[in-house]
């Protein structure tokens, strides 16, 4: 792997130093290597085999909005690509500096500016880590209700830029539902203040910048809705015979208009992982350490030669998983005022009971809640024991959810072991979250298998009418699927917005949509 010297003029580097100060800029190879990727699995494969090939020329850490604006002005003058960087937890390659240039890392802009307790509104800078923001709010008796599993390594700005969802989204909504106002610096080097236009007229600028993944602007701060911490919490798990019946129960419950904070339905294989890790949790301490969720289980499984060998026959393994006699488990967490959540629990159990559910009590749900952040971080050990592992999150209306689940499993089964859960629900539909696992046998074959799985999965989504991302975003990974996702008409509209907010195309090139030159480069 060769990291070439930065391709920027001395005068540019000098001016950057003048803006942020010499301590807050770096062109060191080590920094450029560290900032070459986020948590996108395809880039992780490349990194494992020392094949990383896109490096920024410089990384800068501005302290305030004015510095961000000055940096973008400078980049604009010299037509230098700008890549906004939060905390690097994205899984779609949204920060890969494909054309080099300047990475603007927002981490120094990490203040909670103001908490308005009376109105339930927090104002914070975009670089604050989600966990730090939540901790500061909770110390004052409030919560944002945004708990992505990446909470310890995801910035607020990153969440906003990718339309993130937390584990409690069924109650609190996704990050875009919480956002009231934003301040951004566009690719024109202009500061834009947005306003809340919900239920009144005006062009909704929030909805232009949210999810734009740095291709239009850098987000510098935002105002969001917060709530007092819930007084009570009820945990409840149920088991049903299959996915279809479980989806039906979730649908009926969600459409009562109630807002459970957590609703997670696991398919047969995922249920096996959930319940077996839960069982161990209550045996003895040594085993408890080992069992940290289903990915840990996969890691354990991956260590066994026989299972690794079986992963080379994924279709067979997937078919076998359907015969695991454990049905499908759903965990629910209800929170709020005592009278209300007790009544909610009764309604829930009436609905589930009418569909033949088995009451699993509170333990599986409580266990999940206690371990909810650990799961994602177990993908690394699974990777280092020689497995290719990634997740796909898609969304669709209720009438097609089961069809989508079955079609996705069928599409991916020939190439990888696949399991799923349904964990973000709304009155009109929900999001399925698939995890796939296959043996990793080198950089080229690994990428080939990886691409094949994604191509088939996205084609399946498009065929059934699902959206190709519910909360991970598009980045580089799914840019090539956006033509079908939005259609030419939708892309035309986005390009007009891009033309206005980033007339010189300096903002995060190669992300969100595939331009003609990207297609040529890829081929």
């Amino acid at each position: 792997m060769i990291i070439e010297s930065p391709q920027l003029s001395e005068s540019f580097l000098d001016q950057v130093e003048k803006i942020v100060g010499p301590s807050y800029t770096s062109s060191k190879k080590l920094d450029r290597l560290n900032y070459a990727r986020d948590s996108w699995f395809r880039e992780t494969i490349k990194a494992k085999y020392a094949k990383t090939n896109h490096f920024a020329d410089i990384i800068v850490w501005p302290a305030n909005r004015d510095q961000v604006q000055s940096l973008v002005k400078l980049a604009l003058l010299e037509k230098i690509p700008v890549v906004p960087y939060g905390a690097g937890s994205g899984v779609c390659g949204g920060v890969v500096p494909v054309k080099g240039g300047m990475i603007i890392d927002m981490k120094r802009m990490n203040r909670l500016i103001h908490l308005d307790k009376e109105n339930g509104i927090v104002e914070a800078e975009a670089g604050i880590l989600s966990m730090h923001l939540e901790d500061q709010l909770q110390r004052q008796g409030f919560t944002l209700g945004h708990f992505p599993s990446s909470i310890i390594c995801a910035s607020l700005g990153g969440c906003l830029a990718a339309r993130s969802a937390g584990q409690l989204s069924s109650r609190y909504g996704k990050i875009e539902d919480m956002t009231l106002e934003m301040e951004v610096v566009t690719g024109r080097a202009e500061v834009v203040q947005t306003r809340n236009t919900n239920n009144r007229d005006g062009i909704d600028l929030n909805q232009i910048f949210l999810g734009s993944e740095g291709t239009l602007c850098l987000i510098t701060k935002a105002k969001l809705r917060v709530y007092p911490l819930p007084k009570e919490r009820i945990f409840q798990a149920v088991r049903m015979k299959d996915m279809e019946t479980s989806i039906e129960a979730m649908r009926r419950f969600t459409q009562t208009g109630l807002k459970p904070s957590v609703v997670r339905l696991y398919d047969e294989l995922d249920t096996f992982m959930l319940l077996s890790s839960k069982t161990k949790d209550h045996t003895h301490k040594k085993e408890k350490k080992k069992s940290e969720g289903f990915l840990a289980e996969l890691k354990e499984l991956g260590k066994f030669k026989a299972v690794r060998k079986a992963l080379t026959f994924p279709r067979l393994l997937n078919a076998a998983s359907k015969f695991i006699p454990n049905g499908c488990a759903t965990v629910y967490v209800l929170e709020g005022e005592k009278e209300m959540i007790r009544r909610e629990q009764k309604i829930l159990m009436d609905i589930c009971g009418s569909l033949g559910a088995e009451d699993l009590g509170d333990q599986p749900a409580y266990h999940w809640y206690q371990n909810r952040y650990r799961i994602s971080y177990n993908s690394s050990p699974a990777f280092y024991t020689g497995n290719l592992i990634d997740t796909i999150e898609v969304a669709i209306s209720w009438n097609k959810l089961n069809e989508l689940y079955e079609a996705m499993v069928k599409a991916v089964s020939p190439h990888a072991l696949i399991m799923a859960h349904l964990s973000h629900v709304y009155t009109d539909g929900g999001s399925l979250y698939f995890t796939f696992l296959a043996p990793l046998k080198g950089v080229r074959s690994g990428q080939k298998v990886y691409d094949k799985i994604w191509n088939k999965a996205m084609a399946t989504c498009n065929k059934i009418g699902a959206v190709i991302s519910h909360h991970h975003g598009i980045g580089r990974l799914k840019a090539k699927f956006m033509q079908e996702e939005w259609g030419t008409g939708g892309l035309d509209l986005y390009r007009r917005l891009k033309e206005y907010y980033d007339p010189h195309a300096i903002m995060n090139p190669g992300k969100l949509i595939q331009e003609k030159e990207d297609i040529a480069q890829a081929s």
């Binding site: 106002e181 834009v192 919900n198 009544r343 309604i347 209306s397 190709i468 939005w486 035309d492």
Partner: protein, 270 residues
């Protein structure tokens, strides 16, 4: 709804497909609001949207102007109720369909950018909107205060505790006969609760506990509910109460934000 329109829907000349599983309806955006709502009511559903001034407007026009929903506290505005559709835009080379899904993380939310753009970006020819079952139970809940500001403070507290009334208003001395007569020089926070019976009951119970030191009363008799509906559900009453909520919902009209919208508009028009 005129018989003519009903017949056209039945004959398939006007598109109107109610998906009772997903609780969405897909229809021609040219349908008038009052016809749309009546048709849904016939099927046991509601569009959860109403605007006192615009019942004769088409869905396309309402979306174009993002006209406010009087039920926004419970169901949000049109930007949240509209989940997809077919759009024609002068900025695009061809019409395009917005996928029907509850949420997406596929870039800017084009659907929500189009809603409220006052035609600048074009208009919906077909639209998919969320629908909700007609409520099982309706009840008014009245809480007595000395001043409007105190009532507004109480509303904020209620909202942040996840009790979302269908409609909220101030109520002052009124000829309507109630179990506990309304007092002079007092203002009442009137909350119209509507949902499953069990949910309404639990909301009432929570409100009784929260405001146990206040003079409160729940109204469940049909005639009295109708009288309160007539007295409170009107434009004047809606405007008065929402005028107190600007800070809470951050309805700020920052000059910079207005300017930014205007600049974008000029560019797109050009």
């Amino acid at each position: 709804m005129t018989k003519n329109l009903e017949a056209k829907i039945e004959e398939g000349l006007i598109d109107f497909h109610l998906d009772k599983t997903s609780h969405v309806v897909t229809c021609d955006a040219g349908l008038r609001l009052e016809d749309f709502e009546k048709r849904l009511n016939k099927e046991g559903f509601t569009g959860a949207y109403w605007n006192f001034k615009s019942s004769k407007k088409t869905l396309a026009k309402l979306l174009e102007d993002r006209e406010s929903n009087i039920y926004f506290i419970r169901y949000n505005g049109l930007e949240e109720l509209c989940v997809g559709g077919r759009f024609r835009s002068p900025l695009s080379s061809e019409p395009f369909d917005i996928k029907v899904a509850p949420r997406a993380a596929t870039g800017s939310d084009l659907r929500r950018v189009l809603i409220g753009s006052k035609g600048l970006m074009g208009g919906f020819s077909k639209v998919t909107l969320k629908v909700y079952p007609l409520p099982e139970k309706i009840s008014w809940f009245l809480i007595e205060f000395d001043k409007e500001q105190e009532a507004v403070q109480a509303f904020k507290q209620i909202y942040l505790l996840w009790i979302r009334p269908l409609y909220v208003s101030f109520l002052r001395q009124s000829p309507i006969k109630l179990k506990k007569p309304l007092l002079k020089n007092k203002v009442y926070l009137a909350l119209r609760l509507s949902s499953l019976e069990e949910i309404v009951q639990s909301e009432q119970k929570t409100l009784q506990r929260l405001f146990k030191d206040k003079n409160i009363q729940a109204v469940s008799e049909k005639n009295t509910i109708n009288s309160l509906d007539q007295a409170l559900m009107n434009q004047k009453s809606f405007d008065e109460f929402t005028s107190y909520l600007g800070e809470f919902f951050q309805y700020n009209n920052h000059p910079e934000a207005i300017q930014a919208e205007s600049d974008l508009r000029k560019f797109l028009e050009g």
